[in-house]
């Protein structure tokens, strides 16, 4: 077997693939955060909890109702997105007239509630979720499990579809206009509050979708979202929330960097994204794709 820079290619490409998968989750989550932030100026701290809820929703659909993975892939984002809409209407919408930091504190509190309830009900040891497409193929230089390949391709398609809708369609044009000047857009007869509500639901749905995708890879666990969301915050700071495509590229890119760190310097794999964040803040505070205010 040949070696690449002193590392067996199986390990290298295996970690690279895992990095791409983590990157897919970073991209889906930071995309949702960016869309929500753009319109509402709220950083959705509940995002991690909603990702976790998505995974649990898939698990419950399977174990309580017998609905398989493919059904959950469609149903779970809709269900969790609907709870998101409820949360926006009941709580977050009351804070728009205040400083944005209150939105952060509120969603942090909601995240604690959701996580606490799931921990109470299911413990923190994690529940298994069967792989819907077992097996894989040997590519010669590495073994590719089908499911992991599916996650990368599917989440990339979802990201690009979201980019297309926001940047290239009429609906997206309204959305972008409302991000700039909600008052003016409302004056043109577009129901901005409803648009905000639906956007929040959509962003939450993306998080839940990432949760469903993650369920067969990582077990379903009440604490799976809390640690992830902090990394996603760092991803968002690195990318800057100004650009949709930027969020996608930053998400996947940082996932790969993290994967490579696991191969070449495993001690730093937990911290590498935070270190990159610190460096980016020193050199380009607005983020790689952000615009200075």
């Amino acid at each position: 077997m040949f070696e690449l820079i002193g590392v067996p290619p199986q390990a290298l490409f295996g970690q690279l693939l895992l990095g791409l998968i983590n990157g897919a989750f970073y991209a889906l989550l930071s995309l949702g955060l960016a869309v929500i932030f753009g319109l509402m100026n709220v950083i959705n701290f509940t995002h991690g909890a909603q990702y976790m809820t998505g995974a649990f929703c898939a698990w419950m659909l399977l174990n309580y109702l017998g609905i398989p993975y493919w059904g959950a892939l469609i149903l779970a984002p809709i269900i969790v997105g609907a709870t998101g809409i409820l949360i926006e209407r009941l709580f977050i919408s009351r804070l728009y007239h205040l400083d944005h930091l209150y939105g952060l504190l509120l969603t942090f509190g909601l995240a604690l509630i959701i996580e606490g309830l799931f921990r109470r009900q299911y413990g923190i040891s994690g529940l298994p979720y069967a792989n819907p497409i077992p097996g894989g193929t040997n590519l010669g230089f590495m073994f590719l499990p089908w499911y992991r390949g599916w996650v990368v391709i599917f989440s990339l398609s979802v990201c690009l579809a979201t980019w297309f809708v926001i940047e290239k369609t009429q609906l997206g044009a309204y959305l972008r206009a409302a991000t700039e000047r909600p008052d003016l857009v409302q004056a043109f007869g577009i129901n901005v509050p409803r648009m905000i509500t639906l956007t929040y639901g959509f962003g939450v749905g993306l998080a839940a979708l990432a949760g469903v995708l993650a369920a067969p890879i990582y077990s379903v666990n009440p604490v799976m979202g809390a640690n992830l969301i902090i990394v996603v915050f760092a991803v968002v700071v690195i990318g800057g929330m100004g650009s949709i495509l930027g969020s996608i590229i930053t998400g996947f890119g940082l996932g790969v960097v993290e994967g490579l760190t696991k191969v070449f310097y495993p001690e730093a794999s937990n911290t590498v994204i935070f270190i990159i964040m610190a460096v980016v803040l020193m050199l380009r505070p607005q983020g790689l794709f952000g615009t200075p205010k």
């Binding site: 606490g116 935070f274 505070p285």
Partner: protein, 348 residues
């Protein structure tokens, strides 16, 4: 201004008097815990309440200082990295005997101050929500460093930290004796914060909170003011953590987690952001609640979350803020501006 200051100091003197006699009625360890968290929350409040910066990572100063203090008091070595040609990076281990509590705490505070300087100079490059996210991310980084570093003892933490005689003279092994040390530390930290807020420096901080652009145009080096405030806050959070390590004779990962950062936000929010006594009151309420609810397991998390939600939605002034507003309504006919921070202007 002068009148409220006199009033504040009178309340402070009364609280201190209560603090002196309190151990006759209440378990001293509980009181020491409250004092440590009250100082921690007051340090956090210096940033959110008077500069408008929400740090979501203050546990890194609290917890890391606790580790440093615990290490100095128990092992008493300092390791410095150095680089030599051929040999590369190495650690130079300087053995100093295990330290007495006051020196160990001082060491913890110094390290927290240095950490505050580093983190602060990175974090103040962004404002508002980004500042919160950056501090949270950097705190998570410190958390992972603590998990991996050898001196922190990993999952075990540093246990059985010895509490030697203060200055080599005063025996503080008894909890009641150490309680009065903690009370003095709290009072000193509290007065530092009080002086900071009521100094010309503090006035500039408030100006930055109200309108940063205007403060810049008035010629203030806003970044430097923010950084100094951040470092003071980090140092005092470190003082609180270092003291807590000596109280419980334990430094563990719990104190560096993001949950701890969230708890100090909650204490300050419940007590009243931007009020002098709010964080102390909030810390007492939350610690009491945690003790009371200790048997309920995961419900504590749910209840804390619920308090967050309720406080943000309908109780933004906090206990002390509401009290001040109530007194103002009673004493003046004119509608006084509430002495609470509506952090900034409405969205756009």
């Amino acid at each position: 201004m002068q009148r409220t200051q006199n009033w504040d100091l009178r309340v402070f003197a009364a609280l201190l008097a209560i603090g002196v006699v309190a151990p006759l009625l209440v378990y001293p360890v509980f009181l020491m815990k409250v004092l440590c968290f009250a100082l921690f929350a007051s340090a956090f409040n210096l940033l959110i309440g008077y500069v408008g910066l929400l740090s979501f990572g203050h546990a890194m100063f609290f917890g890391f200082a606790a580790y440093v203090t615990g290490h100095l008091a128990k092992v008493g070595t300092v390791s410095l990295p150095y680089w030599l040609p051929v040999l590369g990076w190495n650690w130079m281990v300087i053995g100093i005997a295990p330290l007495t509590p006051e020196l160990a705490i001082l060491g913890g505070v110094l390290v927290a101050t240095l950490l505050g300087l580093i983190v602060g100079s990175i974090a103040i490059r962004r404002q508002g929500i980004y500042f919160a996210m950056v501090t949270l991310a950097l705190a998570q980084m410190v958390y992972f460093l603590c998990v991996q570093a050898k001196f922190t003892g990993g999952e075990d933490g540093i246990q059985a930290i010895p509490r030697r005689a203060m200055l080599g003279l005063i025996d503080v092994s008894h909890d009641l004796a150490f309680y009065y040390v903690v009370l003095v530390i709290f009072a000193a930290g509290f007065l530092i914060i009080y002086r900071t807020i009521h100094s010309p420096f503090g006035q500039v901080l408030k100006a930055i909170r109200e309108n940063e652009t205007r403060a810049v145009s008035l010629g203030y080096a806003v970044s430097r003011f923010k950084l100094i405030a951040f470092v003071i806050s980090a140092a005092l959070a470190g003082l609180a953590g270092a003291t807590k390590a000596m109280v419980f004779q334990l430094a563990s990962l719990t104190d560096v987690t993001w949950q701890m950062s969230g708890e100090v936000v909650l204490m300050t929010l419940v007590g009243g952001m931007g009020t002098v006594f709010g964080p102390t009151v909030g810390a007492a309420i939350i610690i009491y609640m945690q003790n009371y609810l200790a048997g309920f397991g995961e419900w504590v998390l749910v209840i804390q979350g619920a308090i967050f939600v309720v406080a943000v939605l309908i109780f933004r002034r906090g206990v002390v803020g509401e009290l001040i507003a109530f007194v103002r309504r009673r004493t003046s006919k004119t509608v006084a501006a509430p002495d609470t921070i509506e952090l900034a202007k409405p969205a756009r």
